[in-house]
């Protein structure tokens, strides 16, 4: 808590002069501690506003996407490890849930322990050999793992081959309340997602979370200060994997059918986009980014052809003008401007 306060004071000193009037109000609203509660309240009240199957469906999809973004935020935002194959964990979670639920005719919820175990294993298998690598090698290797996961799912019999798994049993059903009812399932998803987002945010503020941030800022210094960087990175990876697995479980019971086509590289890139746009490391921003990425295409269906072109250009523009993301975490501002100053000075030096 003390650390939080001190960064806040730095923040106000640095940024106080710039923000006035409406901007200050908006920023204070977003920095408000209860913004999460307000967002949850809006999510819970949404079905009272529109309850068409379509609206409920895209809101559920968006909520699942938020979990993915929150999970990837642990890996990329907190720990600074670029993972381009994150969708593999969604696949592991979804396939584990789907296969077990279908084979034993269990409600999907009961597959939870298996999903968590499989995701931890997947995180270990992918993370253990790769996390000693240089950061940009890691990006490519994770991409490779993502593709291997998809190709494997496509070629094995247990995963249903290219047609995947369909008719996955419902999420849960107790005494006449079928949780597969879209609206009930939406509420359930929102609550699970809210819990996971909160947990991820807490994790970011914990001792481990501070270690992650240290590793992200300067790995060598972190190592020198006695942080076991490999272990810390592996933990970030495993947490990310478990969040992805939760997403996969919800994904499987929401769609009732999964196939390898849902786990292509493009999906990994979309989750990354949400994390980057939202501001790597800032959970509130990432949630907002995830909602934007998953809901905007629904609202702008006519621009479907230009969607990915736009996303690509946005990534470049955001990185060039605001490498910390649109809504970066508090406290990072000071260091960042320094990094930018250095970059600018270096570039100027090159021009002369």
């Amino acid at each position: 808590m003390t650390i939080d306060n001190s960064t806040e004071s730095i923040h106000t000193v640095e940024g106080g002069g710039k923000k006035r009037g409406a901007a200050a109000w908006i920023s204070s609203v977003f920095e408000n501690k209860y913004i999460g509660l307000v967002a949850l309240a809006i999510a819970l009240l949404m079905p009272f506003l529109i309850a068409t199957p379509y609206a409920i469906n895209i809101m559920t999809t968006a909520a699942i996407f938020v979990v993915l973004a929150a999970g990837l935020n642990i890996v990329v935002g907190y720990c600074g490890l670029l993972d381009l194959g994150y969708i593999a964990f969604l696949a592991v979670g979804a396939y584990t849930a789907g296969i077990i639920a279908k084979a034993f005719e269990l409600p999907v919820l009961f597959t939870l322990p298996a999903v968590v175990i499989m995701c931890i294993l997947a995180g270990l298998i992918i993370g253990a050999p790769t996390l000693r690598l240089r950061s940009d090698y890691l990006a490519i290797v994770t991409l490779g793992f993502g593709e291997i996961t998809r190709i494997t799912a496509n070629n094995l019999t247990i995963t249903g081959g290219p047609s995947g798994i369909y008719n996955i049993p419902g999420f849960l059903s107790i005494g006449g309340i079928d949780f597969q009812n879209p609206i009930i399932f939406y509420y359930l998803t929102v609550l699970i997602v809210a819990g996971l987002v909160l947990a991820a945010a807490r994790l970011g503020k914990s001792r481990l979370g501070r270690a992650w941030k240290f590793v992200k800022e300067d790995e060598d210094a972190a190592e020198a200060m006695g942080i076991h960087t490999y272990k810390v990175k592996l933990l970030a990876y495993i947490f990310g994997a478990v969040w992805g697995g939760f997403g996969g479980m919800l994904f499987a019971s929401h769609l009732t059918a999964i196939s390898p086509m849902s786990f292509v590289f493009l999906q990994s890139a979309l989750v990354l986009m949400a994390v980057v746009l939202g501001g790597m490391g800032n959970m509130k921003g990432v949630v907002l980014g995830a909602l934007a990425i998953s809901l905007l295409p629904e609202l702008l269906r006519d621009f479907a052809a230009y969607r990915y072109l736009l996303f690509g250009l946005l990534l470049v523009v955001v990185m060039v003008f605001r490498p910390q993301g649109l809504w970066p975490p508090r406290g990072a501002e000071a260091e960042r401007t320094k990094a930018q100053r250095e970059a600018a000075a270096f570039a100027n030096g090159l021009k002369k």
């Binding site: 209860y34 199957p53 469906n57 290219p162 995947g164």
Partner: protein, 389 residues
Amino acid sequence: MNSRKRTLGMLGVATAVLLATSACSGGLLGGGGGDKTDSGPIIIGMIVPTSGSSAPTGASMANGAKMAVDEINKAGGILDGRKLELQIADGACDAQQAVASANKLVSSGVVISVGGYCSGATLPTLPIFDKAGIPMIIPAANSQDLVKEGLKSVFLINGTGLQQSTAALTFIKKQGYKAVALVDDNTSYSVDITTETKKQIEADGTSKVVLKTSVNAGESDYSSAVRDIMGSGADLLYWTGYYQEGGLIIDQLRKAGYTGDIMVADGSADPTLATIAGPAAEGVYATMTPTPNTIKGAEGWIADYKAAFGDDPKPYSTQSYDAVRLAAAAFTAAGNTKTDDVIKALEGIKDFDAFSGPLSFTPEHTLANGGFVILVMKDGDFQLFDNLQ
């Protein structure tokens, strides 16, 4: 404390706004919308890929459906002058996208669905339409999986993988091929056909399957498949994937000196196959339902299509066209758009005049007569070779 007050204020405002707007829309408090009405236009839904790599096929299917809707409306509509209205939603050949689109169509009050191209993306939409009481006439997707669950509301008007492989076997026996190589592209639909064909050839026993293998879609170099085929000593290659890869494989196979015959399944029965494979595509056979240019008397239809959309009809344009007409016929026979009546009417359809021949359904809701014929590639276009009758 100031911030808590503001939070409560915000919460209050948010709640008030949401509740106020919910009163006049389809929210939980506002009562359900989208009831089936007995007047006004009849809304027909169609999920086809309009983005992604299958977008061109999706567009040609949508055109076929539009044409049928326009024709029916011009003739005064059905059920005492009610007009048809077509709503197209993007399935992108992706499960998630297709489910979103299915829900969208359900929300906009469609009474029948006439879409479905990629089997993998069509599967998860079945329970959504079924629960909403919307019968489905699926024009292109033809995986056996679609009818495995026995949903009453699902009707396939494209021959299934089983029917296609039966046609393939008939042709193999007719031509006297001895050694058949089966190659698929590892997608649901394609594997379905190779698996069924292998089973049938082995049960029949007059010829042999010397190779069954898969390739990855999206690559350029298929030398490994070419080696396998050359090494297997096959006198017929049956390729069951899509034309993009099919064209490359045929070209590379011929360049490597393969002298046997080549046959492709309906996913490759597209003139683009010749653009990709070049001269190597000449003489390639295809198992396919009749396409407009192979049907006598369809010249007028093709001209109309060209005039309306400025493009040649593609293989599934006809099936989409027929799906809409079939839907209209079922509504007329049922006398209304109620789910059970429409399903009963579809089950009772006898020898409906479709491009693929007289159409009736089996108890499993697949085509009684698969209607597959053998086409051959001649001068860059597929023509009728053998109607297998």
